[in-house]
Subunit: 210 residues, 2 copies
């Protein structure tokens, strides 16, 4: 059985848990407290030189880091990732978009907001919000033309973007401005075996250095 | 023949050009001036709802956006991307790392520095540099233990990370602090058909809104 080095409050980890649930894949789960440095120990750095979660360790003991890489790996050969090379690339496109434009802005902005740092860094927080809004507009544009992000079928493109899009309101983004995105969020929530077990930040998350 | 919607001064586009050269893949190139809004026209938004370059349009006319997705697509079935699922995931891991930790910090910090905006936003520029340095430390750690990022062989993991790692000095990061990374940069430069055609920012790049 594979092992997921996981953090309950991490949207990146939640994506992996959602896919595992929807594919009904058994997996051992090890909680890593990223807020007290548990992802920066020598043991965890050997799993992932970037010192982050999630990391999936395969049955053969090989660690795979980065939520996008884990989603593509777990979804191969299932309905969540098309087999055709071009179709697969159009799924991967959304996973990269999410890690480059959505997560660094909405994810970081939300972390700052919920752990009480936004007020101390208003300029940076404003930039996170503006760039996060631009990322939501991209999803809005796509959701207005297609039921799911990569086309007619629900795939890991949707899982990846859902991870932070569904909590973007937490960093003072007005979700009412994105009606097609909102309808898409509800389509994702209606898929079989959908779960949302994203945990709140623990109180000590506010002490983690930025 | 595929078409690459390209920007000479973009590190993300340069990665694709480097891979095309090394795989000896013919491709038509269309320059998009991202600094005057050419990537935000209705025509380009139809290719990529995120309004960015690079976009590869396949022989069949299907657009693929995001440098990471394009690299994985073009490299499939070649020596630049292993066929085994776990090995492939360990390559993809570096592509996601690069788009999440390296490019948003080194790429944006470099753009700010070279277009004269760093001084006006010292706090934000300092954060880009600190997060960029943390990303370089990850590459340093990996380069100290492995000739190439995904293992013994040169792959698109190296192409992706090279794109911005080789110009990190442009945003006031001290490259002498990363000797293993430096040796890895030189191993990449020594690979067959290596090219570096990353263009300087044009003068009007300084006018683009942030």
């Amino acid at each position: 059985m594979p092992t997921l080095y996981d953090c309950g409050a991490s949207g990146n980890c939640y994506k992996v848990r959602l896919l595992l649930a929807q594919l009904e894949l058994p997996c051992e789960r090890v909680e890593v407290d990223i807020f007290t440095g548990e992802s920066r120990t020598p043991e965890h750095l050997a799993r992932n030189p970037a010192g982050r979660t999630p990391v999936l360790v395969t049955d053969e003991g090989v660690p795979i880091a980065e939520s996008g890489a884990i989603l593509l790996y777990l979804a191969r050969g299932t309905a969540m990732l098309p087999g055709d090379a071009v179709d697969q690339a159009r799924v991967a496109q959304w996973l990269f978009f999410e890690q480059n434009l959505l997560e660094p802005n909405v994810g970081t902005g939300r972390f700052w907001r919920l752990t009480g740092r936004a007020g101390a860094n208003p300029g940076a927080y404003r930039r996170f919000r503006e760039a996060g809004a631009a990322a939501l507009e991209v999803v809005e544009r796509r959701a207005a033309e297609s039921p799911f992000l990569a086309g007619e079928a629900y795939t890991v493109a949707d899982v990846a973007v859902y991870g932070y899009a569904h909590v973007a309101g937490d960093c003072d983004l007005d979700m009412a401005a994105y009606p097609a995105l909102d309808a898409w969020l509800r389509r994702v929530q209606a898929t079989p075996r959908f779960v949302n077990d994203l945990a709140p930040y623990p109180p000590h998350a506010a002490q983690r250095p930025l």
